[in-house]
């Protein structure tokens, strides 16, 4: 097996074998994704997403009172986000609680959603997004963001768009979509993005590694081909929730 300390360096072992990736996918093929909205009773909105081996739970609480009080914005709602990887989500058992990486990801996801939430409707309130990574296998931040967008819509928070997260990378000199763990760790570049599907605006873009200008353009094009596919699944999940809520004898929050 590949040594973990070599993370980020081109691996000895090929990531593309016979034109196929390690799990047999084509370069522009996503891992199978499922989304289910409204899975938590006590949250205002929630979603459970699986992307290959990734399992992500997103919950949204609010709009509610802001604590601590001094963070209140009298003109609009405050959007907050917490992204956390469960200690048991990775191969080796991690430490619980936030760390430098998860705090950074929380911040970039929060800033992505601050672009789409119509915060002026609920001044003096907080909208809290919680993203829990229960099992991780690469591209968890975009999986979490996609799930959180469904949870926000499920909570009835006014938004200008349902954000879509998609990750693009470069493995063995080729551009590929939806990086899994090995490709992320030992590939040449990894680029998570969040896109507004109706306008095509980019609200989150990070990149690890190196790409040429041409490769970057190619990566962007590939990301845009996947946006509609993911967005359709988000809408289908929301529709399924409201059909289910109507059919259930108990109220579903």
């Amino acid at each position: 097996m590949i040594e973990v300390k070599d993370m980020g360096t081109p691996s000895e072992q090929p990531l593309i074998v016979g034109g196929k990736r390690l799990d047999g996918r084509a370069m522009d093929e996503m891992r199978p994704m499922t989304i289910k909205a409204g899975v938590l009773n006590r949250a205002n909105g929630s979603a459970f997403l699986t992307l290959g081996r990734n399992k992500v739970m997103a919950a949204v609480y609010g709009p509610k009172e802001v604590f601590p009080k001094h963070e209140t914005d009298p003109y609009k709602a405050v959007v907050r986000c917490r992204y956390l990887m469960a200690p048991f989500s990775t191969d080796d058992h991690g430490r619980s609680g936030p760390n430098r990486r998860s705090r950074e990801i929380s911040m970039v996801i929060k800033e992505a959603f601050a672009n789409v939430v119509v915060a002026e409707v609920y001044p003096k309130t907080a909208i809290e997004i919680y993203i829990e990574i229960l099992e991780s296998h690469g591209s968890t931040r975009v999986a979490g963001l996609t799930a959180a967008a469904v949870a926000l819509a499920n909570a009835g928070i006014p938004m200008r768009d349902i954000l879509v997260g998609v990750s693009i990378g470069k493995i063995d000199g080729q551009i590929a979509v939806d990086m899994q763990k090995e490709e992320d760790n030992f590939g040449q570049a990894d680029m998570p993005m969040a896109i507004k599907p109706t306008t095509g605006e980019i609200v989150l873009l990070q990149m690890d590694g190196k790409m040429t200008r041409e490769e970057f353009e190619q990566a962007l094009d590939m990301a845009y081909t996947k946006v509609d596919e993911i967005h359709d699944m988000q809408v289908a999940a929301l529709k399924e929730y409201f059909d289910r809520a109507a059919a259930m004898p108990q109220d579903v929050e």
Binding site: V121, A153, G156, P158, R160, D161, P197, A246
Partner: protein, 320 residues
Amino acid sequence: MANLVTPGDLLLDRPVRNPYTFVKEEKTYAAVVGMFDPEQGRFMPIKGSYLPMVGDDVIGVVEEEKVIGYGINLFSPYKGLLSSKGLRFPFEPNDIIITQVSEVSEVKDIWLSRPMKLVEGEIINIAPTKVSRVIGKHSSMLNVLKAATKCDILVGKNGLIWIKGPSQQKAVEAIEKIDREAHLPGLTDRIMEFLGVKPEDMAAMAQQPQRSSYESARDEGQREERGGFGGRDRGFGGRDRGGFRGHDDRGPRRDYSDRGPRKYEAPRDSNREAAGTVGSSEGQPAEQAQSASSGSAFVSGRIAQSAGQTQPEQGSGRSY
């Protein structure tokens, strides 16, 4: 036929602003998940928090007692404030009340008025966006619910509904059914079927002349609120109209009849008493003397006396 729309979907080609839509380039887009009927141009959000509006009847829970009144939990992002001024009896934490939103400030401070304690009965919580479906057009649905279940039902715009009556459970189930199925077509028919109401009966029930639930419940043992100290909204006017009587010894007005045209009333003090005594002792009618002295109320007692004696006609019946 209404269809499901999600945030970012185009609704109308003209701008319509409300909390559940947003406008971009003079076009209206959905901001929340909801059902949109393109023919009628109606958009019904499926979920959403309650946004207080002036005049809404809301049901809330007394959460805390403050110096100025009570903090009320309205199951909304914002807390309500109920002034204890003018209240006939105090509330206690955990009391459930129905009140009216009287003022919503720029920074979403919500002032409530006309509180009424709700005792017994049952409270259920539905999505505030579906309250309009529970009430129906010209409160038709609510009248049918009341008539079919023989329950008293008070609907708060914030999604809390108070139900009391013989077949309480039936009403609860019917309202929960409305909450679940409000976005599906044929709601009225399904509720009729659930309640076992025939369409011909329904028309009669829906058109029953009924007082608003708020008013009918108010009559039961609740006195109309009369401000002892005519506050801002009490309709007794301020100090200049005789509404405020707190800062001298006269106390509240005892008669609530029409006051007629506004007249200047002399301050009741020792000067006037003196003038009255002198006037009557001189054989003039007491009333005239009083009026005369009122013309020079700000003059010292001695001069007022002499004015009352010398020029009674000029001062009499003067109104301001």
